[in-house]
Each structure stands twice: as structure tokens, then as C-alpha cells.
């Protein structure tokens, strides 16, 4: 045990899907499941951190207080965290910091969302000074546009093929078959992917993650408080919430341009490399210590980028790793045993928490048909719009 560890006492999810109900319902289902899993009740919780949703027709920010009210006002302290796709990790980090500072013993972290059909769109209204609005108006640049730019670059630089991208989907679909919380539980073939329509060349419909409803919740506790409930909890050893370092030379949503490297040379590590690296440094481990990883496969091709970003292989070697089956269940380092976004679709504020729920089940040996045998160290990685990195390392 390290002195900055906190214990994961309970995890819970509301299944991902397109349920069309209010997101608070999902959040409460997940929260109650996490409390049950921890053997605690709502009255044991000192602090609630909410991973916020701000879009999709809801007025204003949806916050930690929303879930506190739904569970019943108790005058507990709350925090509300918005960091786009990284919101869940920020909420988790806020809860962890409260525990490590001795400000609370038990914290509940909740993220939930209800999403519209189709492409994510910017917040409504005429907002010509918001780059997220302008990229749709001036460029017609959707999220898959950016994913496709990265995918095409992999093809030209490293010789990746559309079949490689399809194989990522095939792998994750197979993993997700055994996940009761996954939205899509159906085997997929390379031919299925290649027969789906092109959305943003070279990416096809089945290369790109859907948008989903869902919720995930985690009960965190200080190691002292945890000892009253369990003898061998899964522990959070690191949470990275870093920004890019100037100059950020890879084009990122929703920007029109990268930083300029005319005056300052690019940093040694790209943003996505730095996200995982900050977590490794905090945990005092390296990629060679990992047993399992959950990475943010917004597109199939992006999962290959993550292999390199989290140090599983050198740049340009991700396709080989995939082709050799090293990242599939049974391989050297299974990636996305949950099925990933390929099987879940994206429920933005819940997603970084869902990754940690999966790692917790894996490290407890409770992942059933998708279990990574003997897993004791896991890493999640995720990136939120506007420069929000997130990576969590859990150990047991």
C-alpha cells in the first residue's frame, strides 16, 4: 500500500443503451448499485462528486447536487466536474483529493447521460465566438472528421489498412459479448465493418462509436475506512488529469489549428502520451507492469493510437500488436475487455467512470466471460474536449 492510495469499495452501472429516459434515473440506479456493492447506504456517504453533462437539451450544468437531491438531500458536500469525456476522471480525482486531505472518509462519484441520436452537435443558438460552434458552421467538421484525420495519417505513415481498423471492432465486439452492461452484444466480422457505409473516409459506420445513454458510479473510501468493510480492496494508485504542453502540434477537436511551434520546439511527449505518462509517474510503474487496459476507442483507429500513447509498443507497431492478438483476451495485454466504446457507445460524463468500474471487476476476478486471468494492475485512458486528459491506474 502507498500512502496516496484510496480504496474502491463499490462500483455500479446502469446498462448502456438508448433508453430515452432522464439521465438522473440512470445515475441513481448506478449509485445504488455501487453502494450495495460496497455494503454501504446513502447515509454513509460524506461527499458526492458529479461528472456533469451540459448538452443535449438540458438547461445549464447538471451537477453533483442533482444526484444528491435524487438520493435525498442530506446536507452532504458536493462537487460538480465538467471536463467533457474526462468529466468522470475529474470527479474521481476530486473525491480522491478530499479523502487524501482527510476531509471525508467515504465519497460517491456519479456520471450519467442521455444522448441524442446521431452526431454530437454543439450547444444551440448563434454563437459565432465559440470554436465548437464555428467548426460545424465553417468546416462542417464533426467529431468523426477529426477521428478520420488521425486514421488516414496512420494509414499513410504506418501502413495501417481499413481491415486493421475493422479488426479492432471485431476484437472489441467479441469482448463485449460477455458484458451485461454493454449496449451492443453481437459478434461482428471484418466483412460487416467493410460493408457499413463510409462516414468520414477512411472510417465506416462500424468504426465509429455510437452515442448512448448510461451511468456509472464508484464508492471511494480512505484506506482506514475501507478496512472496516473489506480486507483486500482494489485501490486507485494514480489519476492523471493533465493538459497538453505548449506547443500542442496535433490538431484536436474542436480547434481550427494546432499551436504554432515557430518559437518553441514541441514537447518530448505528445498530449496523449503525456496523459498516460503522468499516471505512470504518479504510480511509480511503467507500461510493462500492466495486465489490462481500457482506452477511449472513439474510433477503431484511435484504439491503435492509444496502444502507442500508453507505451504498449513503439509508434507504428500497434497494427502488429493487434494482428498478433496481443491486445485480445488471452493475449499479452488485453485492451478493452469490456468491449470498449465499440460495444457501449459514448455516454460522455459516465465513460471515464465506466472504464474504472471495468478495471475494478477485472482486478477482483469478477469479470466473468471477459476476465483477464490474474489481472492485478490496470490502466484507463481517456481524453476530453478542450484539452482534458484522464488516466487512472488501479492495483490490487
Amino acid at each position: 500500500m502507498r500512502d496516496h492510495d484510496v480504496a474502491i469499495l463499490g462500483v455500479g452501472m446502469h446498462p448502456w443503451g438508448k433508453w430515452g429516459r432522464n439521465f438522473v434515473e440512470y445515475g441513481i440506479t448506478a449509485a445504488r448499485a455501487a453502494l450495495d456493492d460496497a455494503g454501504l447506504t446513502w447515509s454513509d456517504v460524506d461527499f458526492v462528486a458529479g461528472a456533469d453533462t451540459i448538452r443535449n437539451g438540458y438547461p445549464g450544468f447538471i451537477a453533483g447536487s442533482t444526484f444528491s437531491q435524487a438520493l435525498g438531500w442530506r446536507g452532504n458536500r458536493v462537487a460538480s466536474c465538467y471536463a467533457a469525456c474526462a468529466s468522470g476522471a475529474q470527479a474521481l480525482d476530486t473525491a480522491r483529493a478530499h479523502i487524501l486531505a482527510g476531509l471525508c472518509d467515504v465519497a460517491l462519484v456519479v456520471g450519467a447521460d442521455t444522448t441524442p441520436k446521431g452526431f454530437f452537435a454543439p450547444v444551440g443558438g448563434d454563437r459565432p465566438d465559440d470554436p465548437d460552434w464555428l467548426r460545424f458552421r465553417l468546416l462542417g467538421a464533426t467529431n468523426p472528421t477529426y477521428f478520420a484525420l488521425y486514421a488516414r495519417r496512420r494509414m499513410e505513415l504506418y501502413g495501417a489498412t481499413p481491415e486493421d481498423f475493422a479488426q479492432v471492432k471485431v476484437k472489441n465486439a467479441k469482448h463485449g459479448l460477455a458484458n451485461p452492461n454493454a449496449r451492443y452484444r453481437k459478434a461482428v466480422t471484418v466483412d460487416d465493418v467493410m460493408a457499413s457505409p463510409i462516414v468520414a473516409d477512411p472510417l465506416r459506420l462500424l468504426d465509429i462509436c455510437a452515442t448512448s445513454d448510461g451511468a456509472a458510479a464508484i464508492v471511494l473510501a480512505s484506506m482506514d475506512a475501507a478496512r472496516r468493510h473489506t480486507t483486500n480492496p482494489v485501490k486507485i494508485r494514480a489519476i492523471s488529469t493533465v493538459t497538453p504542453t505548449f506547443p500542442q502540434t496535433i490538431i484536436e477537436m474542436p480547434n481550427f489549428a494546432t499551436d504554432s511551434a515557430a518559437a518553441v520546439a514541441p514537447p518530448e511527449r505528445s498530449f496523449k502520451d503525456a496523459i498516460a505518462w503522468a499516471a505512470y509517474e504518479q504510480a511509480g510503474i511503467g507500461p510493462e507492469d500492466l495486465d489490462v487496459a481500457e482506452v477511449y476507442d472513439l474510433s477503431t483507429a484511435l484504439e491503435l493510437d492509444w496502444y502507442e500513447n500508453i507505451g504498449l509498443c513503439k509508434p507504428g507497431e500497434a497494427e502488429r500488436l493487434l494482428r498478433d492478438g496481443e491486445t485480445a483476451l488471452g493475449g499479452r495485454i488485453p485492451v478493452n475487455p469490456s468491449g470498449g466504446l465499440a460495444c457501449f457507445g459514448e455516454a460522455i460524463p459516465a465513460q471515464a467512470l465506466a472504464q474504472v468500474c471495468e478495471l475494478t471487476w477485472q482486478l477482483r476476478g469478477h469479470a466473468g466471460g471477459r476476465q483477464v486471468e490474474g489481472a492485478s494492475v490496470g490502466l484507463s485512458c481517456n481524453q476530453g474536449l478542450f484539452g482534458h486528459g484522464s488516466s487512472v491506474i488501479v492495483v490490487r
Binding site: W133, G140, E156, V199, P247, I251, A257, A262
Partner: protein, 169 residues
């Protein structure tokens, strides 16, 4: 009230103010900024603070960015994006988007590729030039935006020779 004849030519106006020039001796250009102290460029222009963390300058020049660049990557958008995207008056047609490296500025800038570009003909590193084209129109005006136009390899001087690669779409 008498019927009003519609003007034969609608005014052509930028779809966004202050982001690019329509004309110039060398053609249109993107308008960025350059920090007077450290030389960092920004696009869109940033006249309030310098993105370089080591620089506290508050003095910036508006500058025209390089008109020529090289493809960093590219894609073809096959589905109509949601609002505030406005489809062209003839209805939605797939269109290509490029990320273009500018050498002097050491940055990558996005833009649509000119209408009719076939992405299967493109390759990373290819030379492109900035042009202005219609983005969409309504009853009042035709709205213009910057786009990148590929330059045929044999039409450019100084572009490095590159092996042709083919790609499955």
C-alpha cells in the same frame, strides 16, 4: 406593392469576419496573429494573450498566414453534419476536409478542400494552396470561406518527389 426584381448577383461576404482576406496581390490569405515578443503564431488570431507559457506579451501583429502548405491528413465527410452547418443550395454533397501544415508558422490549419476533390487522389505531404469558395448561400448573400486546393505535383516547383501510394477507401 410592386414586385421587386431580385439582383442578379448577390453580395459575396465572408462567412466569418476577420478570419481571412478575400483578395490580395498573391490571392486570399488566412488572418492570424504573431506575438511581437516570441514570434508565436495563432489562428484564429489571438490579440489578448500569448499561448506560449513562457511569454507574457500583450503585443501582437495581425499577419497573413502562408498561402501554401502540405497535407498533414485529409478525409471525406459523407454524412451531412448537424446545424449550424448549412448545406449548399443544391443540397448536401460529400465534401473533403484537410489538415494542412504551414512551414513558416509551424502549425496545422484545417479547411475544407475545394469542391470536387477526390480524396483517393490525395496523399499526405501533397502541396495545397489557399483559395476562397462559396460555403452556402441564402436570399441575401453568398457566404464565402477559405478552402485548400490541391496542386498537381508536376505543376509545383520545389515539391519533393514522393512515391505514389494507393489506399482502399
Amino acid at each position: 406593392m410592386a414586385a421587386v426584381d431580385r439582383p442578379k448577383t448577390k453580395p459575396r461576404v465572408p462567412a466569418v469576419d476577420g478570419w481571412f482576406t478575400l483578395d490580395g496581390d498573391d490571392g486570399p490569405a488566412l488572418i492570424g496573429s504573431r506575438c511581437q515578443r516570441c514570434g508565436t503564431y495563432s489562428f484564429p488570431k489571438q490579440l489578448n494573450f500569448c499561448p506560449n507559457p513562457a511569454c507574457t506579451s500583450q503585443d501582437f501583429d495581425e499577419v497573413e498566414l502562408s498561402r501554401h502548405g502540405r497535407l498533414w491528413s485529409y478525409t471525406n465527410n459523407c454524412y451531412q453534419p448537424p446545424a449550424p452547418y448549412v448545406p449548399p443550395s443544391g443540397g448536401f454533397q460529400p465534401f473533403a476536409i484537410a489538415a494542412v501544415e504551414l512551414e513558416a508558422e509551424q502549425m496545422v490549419v484545417l479547411g475544407q478542400l475545394t469542391a470536387g476533390v477526390d480524396v483517393s487522389e490525395l496523399h499526405v505531404g501533397q502541396d495545397v494552396v489557399l483559395v476562397v469558395e462559396t460555403l452556402f448561400e441564402d436570399d441575401e448573400a453568398e457566404y464565402l470561406v477559405w478552402k485548400w486546393r490541391p496542386i498537381e505535383p508536376d505543376a509545383t516547383s520545389g515539391s519533393a518527389p514522393r512515391d505514389q501510394e494507393t489506399h482502399d477507401a
